[in-house]
């Protein structure tokens, strides 16, 4: 029922079935941000997702880093700021900033 533990439950199930899995967690927010600190996104080695770390703005980039973390086992700290609409880069249209920690489940 609880959002965060639903994510962990799915991640645990993936892990137990032998998949490579990573978890991304919102660890700091500044200004308006769509998801509060502690929000989590679980990713398996096929790119399947559970949960969220934003309103969908940064998930694509986070999944790429999660897949890399599953491969090399190293944790990552990602910073996302405001979207530059001209440059089509990844960011938050709402104007907030978030920091996301990505780690492999061992």
């Amino acid at each position: 029922m609880s959002d965060a533990l639903d994510v962990l439950g799915q991640v645990g199930t993936w892990k137990a079935s032998g998949k490579g899995v990573a978890i991304a967690t919102v660890i700091t927010t500044w200004g308006s941000s769509p998801r509060p600190v502690g929000s989590q996104l679980g990713v398996d080695d096929s790119g399947a997702m559970v949960g969220s770390v934003s309103g969908g703005c940064i998930e694509g980039a986070v999944v790429q880093e999660a897949l890399a973390a599953i491969k090399d086992g190293k944790p990552r700290l990602l910073d996302f700021g405001v979207t530059d609409e001209q440059a089509w880069d990844v960011g938050l249209a709402c104007g907030g900033k978030v920091q996301v920690f990505v780690e492999k489940v061992n």
């Binding site: 533990l5 439950g9 991640v11 645990g12 137990a16 978890i23 967690t25 780690e103 492999k104 061992n106």
Partner: protein
């Protein structure tokens, strides 16, 4: 994160135990910090354990600096609990909506015809008098109680027990007139005016709710507000000191 850590977080939840997962961001080393113990490689660092317990008190996850290392403290508190007294029509919409909002919901009603699981699929239903059920469940600061029966002999004992505990929200369905009569009865039962003022009655935010589902929304809106105010109040002294 370790797979065992996930299992530990899940069992803490099912036991309604608060726990903080501390993670050092440089290498993902972890500690699981409970009220009475701490486990994992980071648990040897007393400063990390102390910071985790502070975060647990406030109930907010945050990233802190401990001796030059960045530590993320993820607070897992048991989900807020909603006890609905009266397995009535409004309860049939209130219970599933509250479940959707992550409340741990229990419906209590001593009347067998009402308190049936097929009227409340997926919700805990207890066929008991409210005060007896409360004794077994233990009312705490993360619990909200709402009475819906309209029947004083069912509602009043529940309200009395709730007002003598430190639940964060008490609501009672009924008009202003009903509520005034309720005040007289509870006063005779030894409830002080100050205690009585904790009851949200007539229950719910004043949004012109008419249907059972609308009334459920107004009640849940008020409960969410009460919980947010309480958490803000807990966090305020720390914000002022920073």
């Amino acid at each position: 994160m370790k797979a065992e850590t996930i299992a530990a977080l899940q069992s803490a939840r099912s036991e309604r135990r608060a726990v903080v997962l501390a993670t050092r961001l440089s290498d993902a080393a972890e500690a699981l910090v409970y009220r009475d113990k701490a486990e994992g490689p980071l648990a040897a660092d007393a400063a990390v354990v102390a910071a985790a317990r502070r975060a647990m008190e406030v109930g907010r996850s945050e990233t802190v600096d401990v001796g030059g290392a960045k530590i993320f403290l993820n607070v897992y508190v048991p989900p807020a609990r909603l006890i609905v007294v009266g397995a009535v029509h409004i309860a049939q919409t209130l219970a599933p909506m509250a479940t959707m909002l992550d409340f741990d919901v229990t419906v209590v009603d001593p009347r067998g015809a009402w308190a049936t699981t097929n009227r409340f699929p997926g919700v805990k239903v207890v066929q008991e008098w409210a005060d007896e059920a409360f004794d077994k469940m233990g009312l705490d600061v993360s619990t909200a109680v709402v009475t819906l029966t309209h029947d004083p002999k069912l509602d009043d004992p529940a309200l009395e027990a709730a007002l003598r505990s430190d639940v964060f929200y008490v609501g009672a369905l009924g008009s202003k007139r009903t509520h005034a009569k309720r005040k007289d009865r509870l006063r005779e039962a030894g409830i002080t005016d100050e205690q009585f003022e904790r009851i949200h009655g007539p229950v719910g935010l004043n949004i012109g709710a008419k249907s059972p589902a609308e009334i459920a929304v107004s009640i849940l809106g008020q409960i969410i507000e009460a919980r947010a105010r309480r958490l803000d109040a807990l966090a305020a002294p720390k914000a002022a000191a920073a």
